[in-house]
């Protein structure tokens, strides 16, 4: 991956306000799929909603149930619109892949280099394109 390049983990397009997670969030135990709210009381963004946001999270964390929680949030329409990460996380990716397979709802996940991540997380709102490029809107 080039410094500027993006790697598409789950393809799709999305548009929304940017939400930057200052620490990785374990979706299981950390995200309420019914509401889209962050419920991990030790997380810096506790109480914030991920729904419809372009969520920046460097890496995945914690429980292997995260896939199920993300898939359920996608089914219920409370999930992030898209995810931008620095490292591919299979457990997070699986939630989006299965929601795509079962419901045909694609929540794109893109992995970008650290420098791009740092620049793009400053966007107020952003669009993820099918090729993985992330555009300020």
């Amino acid at each position: 991956m080039s410094e500027r390049g993006a790697r598409v983990i789950v393809p799709g397009t999305a548009h929304g306000e940017v939400l930057v997670l200052d620490e990785p969030l374990s979706f299981w135990g950390g995200l309420d799929a019914e509401t889209g709210l962050i419920i991990d009381q030790r997380h810096p963004q506790v109480g914030r909603s991920v729904s419809g946001r372009i969520v920046f999270m460097t890496v995945g964390r914690g429980s292997s149930s995260a896939s199920s929680v993300l898939a359920e949030a996608i089914r219920l329409g409370t999930a992030p619109a898209g995810l931008v990460m620095q490292e591919a996380d299979e457990i997070v990716a699986l939630g989006a892949i299965v929601a795509d397979e079962i419901y045909g709802k694609a929540v794109p996940i893109v992995v970008v280099a650290a420098a791009s991540y740092a620049a793009q997380k400053a966007f107020k709102s952003a669009k993820i394109e099918l090729d993985g490029s992330i555009i300020q809107t």
Partner: protein, 427 residues
Amino acid sequence: MDLVLTTHEQAMLDGTHGAGCQLAMRIVARTASVMGATSLRPISGAHIDSCLYHGQSGIDFAKRLVDGGAQVAVPTTLNVSSLDLLHPELYRGDAATGTAARSLMTLYEELGCSPTWTCAPYQLDDRPSFGDHVAWAESNAIVFANSVLGARTHRYGDFIDIAAAVTGRVPDAGLHTDEGRYGQVLVDLSEVRSDLLALDVAYPLIGHVVGGLVGTDIPVIVGLPANTSEDRLKALGAATASAGTVALFHAVGSTPEAPTVEAAFGGRVPERAVHISTTDLRDARDVLSTRLDGFLSAISLGTPHYSVAEFGELLRVLDGRAVADGFRAYVSTGRDVLTELNLRGWTAQLEHAGIQIVTDTCTYITPIIESPNADKSASLIMTDSAKWAYYAPGNLGVDVVFGSLGDCVESAVAGDLMRDEQDWADV
């Protein structure tokens, strides 16, 4: 590079073996692409976390597999669910959720999985051996399989676990490869007081600190006593996976891929080194507690599921005493361990002491714990598990205080919060 499939794998992807197997292979292939794998490899077993109910999507997915005629291709065990089938009266959640959870469990049994219902499949008689490739989900089981058994599983989660079991294949990448298993971060425990390392309570705390320090990297821990017990490594590993994203650690002198520091790093120089001190462990003990005073209503042990040896230690510490009237004491374990307790006559002793054994599930993922005070938000519960302490406040809306097994037992017997500060004096 693209994924290259064998004739048999391609046939599964083409639907020759049914729509269920085809969906499973699509998921394995897409995961292989995420992991950058160019081929798949056979596995000898699987452990499934997808059987725990999180909503309709889990049922929709499992039903697609069942309706598509899928069956597991390798011996497959099941993780905890949200119900205790042996003590159904303990479930205090709403009936509709209970019914949905049960139907999800049934779907996984229909796929050919064994109803083991435990988060500690490494405590079953039949467990993977050194070098075996498996597809395990459940973060504590993954880290135990890789680190303590020397079996090889990537950090699998829901959906890919059963997809791997049905196809008998995983992406040949990550922790399945030699290259993916070498240590990255040196964790030095030489600044931890040696008398603390002789206590069980140190191990979940070390795991919590290590998980926070290394994130997704592979730690090589130096300074643990030689041949540290499986139960201590279990507590340590579970905490690294809740506080961080650890799927494999090496403990020099205790785990099979770490006879020496050099071997654990594959002869390479560590990317970085971190030191853990006694103060770090005391800080972890404080951070894992959300409240340190007030009315204590219950203790919860057995996260991950208690082993036979841990029940033996619990009985030793209880020393014939019983839990105070009205106080609740829960221990979660697997039904296989319960069978062994029955054979030893320990179940009756534990019941007599007022200990409630919980099987098939865990007290922090489903409403089981009874709070004598009606106001749920006021409940304060003590645990000896860093993982339980980490997740229970968010899941159950309770306050938690972390303590040693001794603290938990003394509190349960007294019916009041007791924490022995002697071990932590002068820190």
